[in-house]
Every structure is written in C-alpha cells, then in structure tokens.
Amino acid sequence: MKTDRLIEILGANIEPISPRRLRVAVVLALVAGVTGALCLMLATVGPRTDIGAHLPSLAIKLGFALAVAGAGSAFLARSMRPGQHSRRLLALMWLPFIALGAAAVAALTTAEPASRGALVLGTAWWSCLICIPLFAAIPFAALIGAARNGAPTSLARTGAAAGLVAGAFGAAAYALHGPDDFVPFIAVWYSAAIGLCALVGALLGRRLLQW
C-alpha cells in the first residue's frame, strides 16, 4: 500500500475529537470501580457492626487508601498519554506508604516489646490479604478497560498503576469490615495487599494493554 493512499483513508470523514474523552473514561472507571468494590464488600463480608466505635482508625485506613488511589490514578491517567513524563507522580505514589510506615515504626518503638508481635499480626491478616485483592477485581477490570482507551507506552507501569489504584479501592472497602485497628497492622498488611494487586497489575498489563 502507498502511504499517500493510507493518509487519504485516515483523513477521510474525520470527526472532531473531544479533549475530555480520555479523562471521562478514567473518571467513569474510577466511579464504577469504587462502587463495585463497595458492593462486593457489602454482598460478601459486610461492614463490621461496631464501626461507630472505631472511627479514628477507620479515618486512618480510608485516608491511606484514598491517598494511594489519588496519586495512583493521577499517574495512571498520565501514563495513558504517550510522551508525558511522570517521575514526580511516581514519587508521590510512595508517599502514603512512607508516611504510614513511619507512623507504624513510631508506634512499635513506643510500644512494649512483648506486645509488638500482636500489633503487627493483629487477628485477621489473612482475611486482609484475601479480601483486598478480591474487592480489587472489579475496579481493576474497569481501570484496565479505561487504559485500553489510551496509548500507554510502558505497559507494565500502567498495569501496575491500575492494580495499585484497584488495590487501594479494595483496601478502602475492606476498611469498613476489617477488625484490626493497630497502625503497624495497617502499614504491613494493607500495604502488602495493595502491593500484591500492583504486581499482578504489572504482569497482566503487559498482555492486556498492547496496542
């Protein structure tokens, strides 16, 4: 085929493109993802009954999860556009993890040595590791769907960002259920579950995001 002919074909009957198209796709996926994760949590394990008595720790969990989701989705949206560098956002994504980790270390150093193990292990770390990735499945599918609308040039990175945001939504949903409130527990197991989601996202992204 001659290139001039291809250009004629590509240029035939073109429609104006809305500058908001990609952003709309990402926002829709984020809304669908949060809703999906919440509904799945409500339909399966349900919120804890004594939630009113644990509002400060709920605030920490939600604050952490939403900070990760916020930085992650900014990175995700940018990584879907070719040629945009996002090193600053990449650094920003680590910030919630570092802040929570520092708070956990502070809590552990001031705690009695004998109680440190209990602060980290809590009562239900396994449920945290199972539920968060499970709740993350719906937001992950929605975000990968949105990312397929874009043109990511680093597929593993974009996939990891989608996994990270989905994991953060899963963590936010799980925060309403999880019975463990110690900061070291949240720092270790919530982070591990979100990290797991990001890892799976990176692996799947390579396959699912090709264009």
Partner: protein, 217 residues
C-alpha cells in the same frame, strides 16, 4: 622562522574557534528549525482534532516524511530495508490516527509522536527479530532530525487486512473511509445510529492496527 610558527599556530587556533562558532550556529539553526517544525505540526494536529481534514492530512503527510527518515536511519544499521521502514511509517500513522485523542493540546506534539514511534519500533523489533535489539533512548527531537520524502510501497495490503476484521467494521470503514460517504449516510445504510457507526469505525481501525501486528508475529 619562530614568528612563522606562531602565526601558523595562531591561525590554526582561529580556525578551530571559527569551526566551533559555525558548529554552534548550525546547532542553533537546527534547534530553531525543530522549534518551527514543532509549532507547525502542533497547529496542524490541533486543527485536525477540531475536524479540519485538510490540515490533518497535511499533518500525516509531514509526519510520514519525518518518520521515514527516522526509521530508515535506524533500520539501515539493523540491515533492514526501505519496505520495512515504510511498514513502520504506516503502522505509526495508523497509531497516530487511532490514538489521536491521547494527544493533550496544551503540550508539545513532537514528544507525543516520538513516544508512539518509539513504542511501535520496539514492538516491531520484538516481533520480528529473534535477538533482542535495543532501540536507543534519544531526545524526542531525534524523530524530526531527518526528512525523507522518497516513499516506497509498503508490504501492507489493505484488502487482506480488511478481510481479517468483522463484517460490520469492514462495511463501516468501506463506506466512511474508502467510499467517502458521510457518517450520516453510512449509518443509514448500516441501519445503526451515527454515534454507533463512529464507534464501529474507531474500533475497526484499531482492529486493523492489531492485524498488522499479528501479521508479522
């Protein structure tokens, strides 16, 4: 004698200095050219995104010359020929088209085009060569460094590519892109809404791009 050598050394020094100045000047000229090209391409792109078909075709045509220069330069060192370069040019043009909504109008055009060209180049090398070839990481301006208007025919065959996509998409592309029917007319003939037809055409173009990838893997 001693004075002669001094003069010779001095004039040699002047020559070196002059060469440096000329080199700086040509570098400055080069950067100015690139800047002018960037402004021009970006204006064409934005007009194209607003629906101006003439500007859009000019953009694709100008872009294809730069892409040809870029790929020929890089493929020559990998012992591959002009036809492969033209395949890549066309693949990138289709990618520019199907991904044009990912261009942010407030940003430079060249880095966007370079990132697409590089992605497609890495992808192409991965598909076609047994050994992993590294594509050098350069400045985005590298994609504008060579302008090559001498197109050859690519190995892509439109008819056989079209044969590989769904009937619906093929019909939509045939009407809108090849027969030049308006979106409204094409939608009526296909018996769908105009927005559904636009989506079908867009997906069909992406499916064509996918067929090109699969063809050589």
């Amino acid at each position: 004698m001693g004075g002669g050598i001094d003069i010779a050394i001095e004039s040699a020094g002047n020559l070196v200095q002059l060469a440096c100045v000329t080199k700086q000047a040509s570098r400055a000229n080069y950067l100015m050219d690139i800047h002018a090209t960037e402004v021009e391409l970006r204006d064409l792109m934005i007009a194209g995104l607003d629906g101006n078909a003439a500007a859009y075709k000019t953009l694709l045509s100008r872009a294809s010359d730069y892409l040809r220069g870029y790929f020929r330069g890089h493929l020559a060192s990998a012992n591959r020929g002009a036809v492969e370069a033209e395949d890549l040019v066309q693949e990138v043009l289709i990618a520019i088209h199907t991904q044009r909504h990912t261009y942010d109008r407030t940003r430079l055009f060249t880095p966007w085009m370079y990132a697409i060209a590089r992605y497609k180049f890495v992808d192409y090398l991965r598909r076609t060569s047994a050994e992993a070839s590294d594509v050098p990481v350069e400045e985005a301006e590298e994609v504008l460094a060579h302008n090559d208007h001498a197109a050859v025919e690519s190995s892509l065959d439109l008819e056989s590519l079209m044969a590989g996509i769904s009937d619906q998409a093929r019909r939509a592309i045939q009407y809108v892109k090849l027969d030049g029917l308006s979106v409204r007319e094409a939608a009526q003939r296909c018996g769908v809404s105009e927005s559904a037809l636009k989506v079908t055409v867009h997906r069909g173009m992406k499916a064509l791009a996918l067929r090109i990838r699969q063809r050589s893997s």
